[in-house]
Amino acid sequence: MTAAVSLRASVEPARPVIELRGLGRSFGTVEALREVSFAIPSGAFVAIMGPSGSGKTTLLNLLSCLDRPTAGEYLLDGIPTAGMSEAEQARIRRERIGLVFQQFHLIPYLTALENLMLAQHYHSVADAAAARAALERVGLGHRAGHRPSQLSGGEQQRVCIARALINEPSLILADEPTGNLDEANETVVMDLFRQLHREGRTIVLVTHNPAFGEVAERTIRLAHGRVESDR
């Protein structure tokens, strides 16, 4: 699957994976997003920045089909998502998307390893060896048997990142993946994302971290739910 994705990425580099047309999302009277339009080509590395409450997480939820827009259109691989059934959206998340959550969302009664295996289970089949390898990739091989409550915030964040990558997604949507990390681990995670980018995966990453802004090819700034700048 990885090979197919990177091959496709190299053959048609400019085809948009994500295309937003006047996207809006309001919660009652709160307009968290309005008139958001941009396209992200396959294999791109895009950073989303903006102050707290500017709609970054709301945007990622829409991109991952966890939420539906109240205005505008979202095309994924050129297909309008509005017409998709929940089952289709679930299949897309399962097969194509890796999510890194701002609040980690690890299952408290499962170990780090089992949390990864859970994602494999929903995807296809749990594979302990592959899950262990993924933990090692984020420097947590020695923490495989620990519960989230026994891990530091940074460690939990890295488990969450490992889980997002476990099923080899072609599109990675990460919400502040370095928010809780020290400098050393920040470098590890940034290198990881660089490598994922080199493998041809499309990365959309919310961050406050200017260093990431430099790594990314493109930065979209949000303010009050609107795109303030895009370059």
Binding site: T57, N61, S64, L66, D67, E86, A87, A90, R91, I92, R93, R94, E95, I97, L99, F101, Q103, H105, I107, P108, Y109, L110, E114, M117, L118, A119, Q120, H121, Y122, H123, S124, V125, A126, D127, A128, R163
Partner: protein, 379 residues
């Protein structure tokens, strides 16, 4: 694949064990439901069947008499032929009866000549003070109906002088006092040969009472077969006793069914409340599952898997409790122990599963409808 199934098992087990309190409530509800249902089922399958058999054998359910009502009863040979026509495995007992009036010291009484061992099998429910007469040709002992005994102030061990037709006399010892709650309570019972002598009707009997394990249409067929085998004889099934008892049993059945249904409904409500609370507190987990790409099937499978696991455990516990409860009810209501019936566990499990699944329908629907973006925000 093995690893995949194991992950599912780990997931079920962990998610159940972190919620031991709630799971315990659902499990207890199912155990109580399974206990009551299995106990009633045991009673129904065991005691009721046994009791039905006994009731069917209670009292005579066949009478063989002379086809011609004007005849002087039957002769013993015709009677023997008629009884021989009943398949032996169906014949619980048979006794001839010869009736007449005799004089006792304190007045007249109805004398009944019977076959005591046969009568005992035909009338197992008779209450006897003293003892039954054990042999058919006992000429020295008699049994006395309760009211007659009270009127004459006789007790087992006393002797009676009996004066029959044409000056025939006998001296008999009262061996037992019988109580049937019916006409027998006014009668004096002696063996058939003695009665024949006292009443001056050698070799005769008025009719025979039979207890046969046969019902309905088969009884009519048997009556016809007896008539054919012994000319001059008319056999008739009597249904009065077994059918009225059957009505009581059917009422008990109905009552048990109502209690079982009521308990199952209560169990459903209790399990439903528990599962609903469980789904509510697990909304973030369900949201995460959806975020990881779990489809409805995976979520339904997880909740139904957990529900099934709880109901199997609850059923096992309930079956053990239910067997004890059955003994308690069996002793209290029917005065009998209840045997183990292999049909009880599978039927109880099916009932518990159906209950749990019915209870799970709404909670599982809720689980499937969880909006991931909202719950992952912590709302």
């Amino acid at each position: 694949m093995a690893s995949g199934r194991r992950m599912f098992a780990v997931l079920l087990w962990r998610s159940l064990s972190v919620r031991a309190g709630r799971v315990g409530v659902a499990l207890a509800a199912l155990a109580v439901g399974a206990a009551v249902v299995s106990a009633l089922l045991s009673l129904y399958l065991d005691i009721k069947v046994k009791m039905g058999e006994e009731l069917r054998a209670y009292g005579a359910n066949f009478v063989i008499a002379a086809a011609d009502p004007a005849a002087d009863g039957l002769d013993a040979a015709a009677l023997a032929r008629a009884v021989a026509a009943v398949p032996p495995e169906r014949l619980v007992g048979a006794s001839p009866a010869l009736y007449g009036v005799v004089r006792l010291d304190q007045g007249n009484a109805v004398l009944a000549g019977v076959d005591f061992p046969g009568l005992r099998r035909v009338s197992p429910y008779w209450q006897v003070t003293g003892a039954w007469i054990g042999v058919a040709f006992d000429e020295r002992n008699a049994m006395v109906g309760r009211r007659l005994a009270d009127a004459m102030k006789v007790r087992p061990g006393d002797t009676l002088a009996v004066l029959g037709a044409g000056g025939a006399k006998a001296q008999v010892t009262v061996k037992g006092v019988v109580e049937s709650g019916d006409a027998e309570d006014d009668q004096l019972f002696v063996s058939l040969p003695l009665a024949q002598r006292l009443l001056g009707r050698p070799g005769r009997a008025d009719f025979a009472m039979l207890s046969v394990t046969v019902d309905g249409a088969a009884a009519d067929a048997l009556a016809a077969a007896i008539d054919a085998a012994a000319p001059g004889v008319s056999a008739k099934p009597i249904r009065r006793v077994s059918e009225s008892d059957g009505v009581i049993l059917d009422k008990i059945d109905g009552l048990m069914a109502v209690v079982a249904a009521f308990i199952l409904v209560m169990t459903t409500l209790c399990v439903n409340a528990t599962l609903t609370a469980m789904v509510a507190e697990r909304a973030p987990e369900i949201g995460l599952a959806k975020a990881l790409g779990a489809d409805h099937r995976a979520i339904v499978a997880q909740f139904l898997g957990e529900t099934a696991l709880i109901s199997v455990a609850g059923t096992l516990l309930g079956l053990v409790l239910g067997f004890g409860l059955a003994q308690l009810l069996g002793q209290a209501v029917f005065g009998a122990w209840v045997g183990f019936r292999p049909l009880v566990p599978p039927v109880t499990l099916a009932a518990a599963m159906a209950t749990a699944l019915a209870a799970a329908i709404l909670p599982v629907r809720r689980a499937v409808k969880v909006a991931p973006a909202r719950v992952l925000r912590g709302e």
